[in-house]
């Protein structure tokens, strides 16, 4: 059976900058590998199955929903536009509370 089209996943420049800072901090506390692995896993899930998180709310202007998901040790918020099969990560990816980051 053919796999369905993957979702298109985009990140904002703001998220990129936050990830740099988060990565540096992760390195300092010895969680660099875990953070890198979580970033890869988040991206992979968003491409294949963005419904892995939980919906938070509908956006009133855009035909899309705000979702939140956890891939230990990170929390990601993302906008899912199901009609365009598009995922946009526009909010900072943050550490999961209590994970040591």
């Amino acid at each position: 059976m053919d796999a369905p089209l993957p979702y298109h996943v985009s990140y904002s420049e703001h998220v990129h900058e936050i990830l740099r800072a988060l990565g540096l901090h992760a390195r300092e506390v010895g969680l660099g590998k875990q953070v890198l692995a979580a970033i890869r896993e988040i991206d992979s899930r968003l491409h294949i199955y963005p419904q892995f998180g939980q919906p938070l709310r509908n956006l009133s202007v855009e035909p899309a929903q705000l979702w939140i998901g956890v891939v230990d040790p990170l929390v990601v918020q993302y906008v899912l536009d199901e009609s365009r099969r598009q995922v946009m990560v526009v909010h900072p990816i943050t550490p999961l509370p209590g994970c040591g980051l």
Binding site: S10, S12, E41, V70, M88, H91
Partner: protein, 161 residues
């Protein structure tokens, strides 16, 4: 789900529960029964949340993953038996050659719960105007994909490797 499918799944469940009843250890049978019920419920939730075509593909992926995992378990068990029969010499499979790696795609089916306080905070801090503006920027510029900056992140986080 059609009536035919319901009957078929019901028959499968009855058969599975019958097999469990034959286990000598009732505690183990109860544990397996609870675990499989929980798994089936999770699967049903996932399948209900996606389109029918995606659901078919997911089911197909789950079946392929199961077959791969069972095959891996069987190979491991066979290797253990071979080692015992060979007086402890490791077989090529146990050394890694020819072993089937576990599926790397199965992980996405695992849902890690979002702590309620984290979800509440996200809702409280949500700014629709800001979010809409960032979406607009991504739609105009195309945004970034992970491969645009992953290597840079990797060098930043793991500079010595």
């Amino acid at each position: 789900m059609s009536n035919h499918e319901k009957k078929r799944y019901s028959a499968m469940n009855t058969s599975f529960q019958g097999e469990l009843a034959r286990l000598a250890n009732p505690t183990l049978a109860a544990t397996i029964s609870q675990a499989t019920t929980k798994l089936a419920t999770s699967m049903a939730e996932i399948l209900a949340s996606v389109s029918p075509s995606d659901a078919k593909w997911l089911l197909s992926l789950v079946l392929r993953t199961l077959v791969t995992e069972i095959d891996t378990i069987n190979r491991t068990a066979e290797s253990a038996v071979d080692r015992r029969l060979d007086g402890g010499r490791p077989s090529p499979e146990s050394a890694g050659a020819g072993a089937t790696p576990p599926s790397s795609q199965a992980g996405f089916l695992v849902k890690t719960p979002v702590p309620p306080e984290v979800a509440q905070r996200a809702l409280r801090d949500f700014d629709e105007t800001e979010t809409t503006e960032r979406i607009r920027q991504i739609r105009e510029s195309g945004g970034l994909v992970l491969s645009d900056f992953y290597e840079e992140l990797e060098q930043l986080i793991l500079p010595s490797e």
